[in-house]
């Protein structure tokens, strides 16, 4: 069975590539994981607002062509059909969802979306680090829900690289490059040190 890997540069099936190209406005031949830049697009990624190439899959029923974002429940119940379908898959996880039953499959997704039901609900910060550092997930990690400017700085550091943002002041700040942030970090996050991290805390034992 052909399986799409999380690595964006990994080969994909021809059918999947065609599906993806078809759904991207002005889509090139190369299957990208990012939508086209659009100032009104819902997703902030790679320095621009973009259209969302993924369609949200309903809880059950037929799926159209193109990349789909499926909730964990559907993934667990329709896993075989979803894989057979051959198109790029995204996985949506509610805050607090355990990862044990998807741990072996994270490499099959090109997108994992983690929900922030309220700005103050910080569970997905830990989930993101587990996905990146424990399970080695390398695809798009998208923050969805109540995403506000003061969290985005933290979200980036724990591994998010895409943000679904509806809050108007946050969109303005992102677009203008005006997130007021502290660019020095006292603590390393992840397996390797980050730039800006205080040097002694990132020093390994050996």
């Amino acid at each position: 069975m052909d399986v799409l890997e999380a690595d964006p540069d990994a080969p994909v099936t021809e059918a999947a590539a065609a599906n993806l190209a078809a759904c991207l406005p002005g889509g090139s031949g190369r299957p990208g994981l990012s939508g086209a830049a659009d100032p009104n697009g819902p997703i902030w990624k790679e320095g621009a607002f973009r259209l969302d190439p993924f369609q949200v899959a309903p809880a059950s029923g037929e799926l159209g062509p193109g990349p789909v974002l499926v909730a964990k429940a559907r993934w667990l119940s329709d896993r075989a059909q979803l894989l057979a379908r051959g198109g790029p898959l995204g996985l949506f996880l509610e805050a607090g969802t355990g990862l044990d039953d998807v741990a072996d499959d994270v490499g099959r997704f090109v997108l994992i979306a983690l929900d922030f039901p309220k700005f103050s609900d910080g569970r997905a910060f830990s989930t993101a680090r587990l996905l990146r550092e424990k399970f080695g997930y390398r695809g798009e990690l998208r923050a969805v829900g109540n995403v506000l400017s003061d969290q985005i700085l933290f979200m980036r550091r724990v591994g998010f690289d895409a943000f679904e943002v509806s809050h108007a002041p946050t969109r303005r700040a992102l677009g203008a490059g005006e997130l007021a942030e502290v660019r020095l970090y006292y603590q390393p996050v992840g397996a390797a040190a980050e730039p800006g991290t205080r040097s002694w805390l990132r020093t390994g034992a050996g």
Binding site: L153, A180, R183, Y186, W200
Partner: protein
Amino acid sequence: MYRYDEFDAEFVRQRVAQFRDQVQRRLRGELTEDEFKPLRLKNGVYLQLHAYMLRIAIPYGTLSARQLRKLAHLARTYDRGFGHFTTRQNLQFNWPKLSDIPDILDELAEVEMHAIQTSGNNVRNVTADHFAGATAEEVVDPRPYAEIIRQWSSLHPEFSFLPRKFKIGITASEHDRAAIQTHDIGLQLRRLADGGLGFAVWVGGGQGRTPYLAKKIRDQLPEADILSYIEAILRVYNLHGRRDNIHKARIKILINSIGADVFAAEVEAEWARIKDGVLKLPPAEIERIAGYFAAPAFAARPPPAGLRPADRSFDRWVTRNSHAHKQPGYAIVTITLKPIGGIPGDASAAQMEAIAELAERFSFAEVRVSHEQNLVLPHVRLGDLWAVYQELKRIGLAEANAGLVTDIIACPGLDYCALANARSIPIAQRISARLAPRQEQVGELKIKISGCINACGHHHVGAIGILGVEKRGEEHYQLLLGGSGAEDAALASITGPGFSPDGIVDAVETVVDTYLKLRTGPQEAFLAAYTRLGAQPFKEALYGRA
């Protein structure tokens, strides 16, 4: 003590700039109070009954004379000439204008201070034994580890939106002055079985409406692993702590619902994965931070104390308010901010300046803040005690009452706090005035008063605890007995029906009278007598025979 390098200074500067921007957006009306609230709470700014309140971090309770002078200046310039020292070794200003707060933070940054994470659902100011670095009882000074934890937890990207606030306390002595068993994480620095330094780790202590003492989940944690172990604890808590009910969101509730052993197993599993990663502390770096806390240049043989006038009140003060120092010829001096009938923890700008000067002249420019709302001069030569005492008398802070019934902990209560149900301060003042004449006779007895169930006044661990509640629109006070926050930690039990504001003062006196009548002698302290006698004789004295 710790000194900022360029990294620390720039970090605080950027944080103040970020907060200044947030305040300006609020003042321009671009942010509603609801939107502003989570931002200001990340920086110690509360909206109280009458005004904003700013809570300034005093990391592990260590202050320099220069910093204390700055706090005095801020009190005079931006507040009403007072500051209030809290039960978490912080300082609160109760009357700053919101528009002034960024300027206050700029001034604080000049003396390497800030208000970062003194509120909000994140790791709060790390507290420590207020005698750290001076007491002979400790294995080593715990403050370097507190500083390492402070740095690591500052604006932590994963743990800035925890289910609830998170408090870490650390001691390095068997005698626990840091109340580690009432903290979310309590750390006891100790010598491990293999001869190295490390920690016993306690989790899940806390007061509030559902008090729990912490459970020990690890007896021997090597010092190099302290950050990875704390990270594992916080990750398990962040993922599994309750978020549906603010009153059940602390880690203590999680631990007591799943069991300390299950919680510990989760932590150990996560820790096993990360313990040899980037958080492993290199010995050279522990040493480097410890270097900031090197002991001052003590005189090897300070000149003996000279003759001084016979003065019984000075004798009493030395007996009560000084503590053995690790360096022969020196003493640790407690300055209680508890003058008889005064407001616990308050200090005027003039008092702060006078104490700063005392520190400069007699204590290597160091001051400590205790969680019992007192100040400490950690390194005073025995020969200087008389001079220190004279100056403290001049500023009204020479009461010889450390640990006695008038050394009362009280939260700000309904005089200031938006959460309070009843006033704490006037009750403390009246009890202090009532019992002062007999405090020597009564001996060690800790009274702790909270103006609401959130327990900022630590009433659950008072030998006598008082909890203010509201009953049919009136202030009403419950009485608790038998608590301790030290190494013999225990939660106090409620005696029975509560009392009016007048009645609670009488009730405390009744408890004290009962103790004096029933103790085997002055050598049997209140808690020992209570343990021996049980609650019954006290209840009978309070409520009559059932």
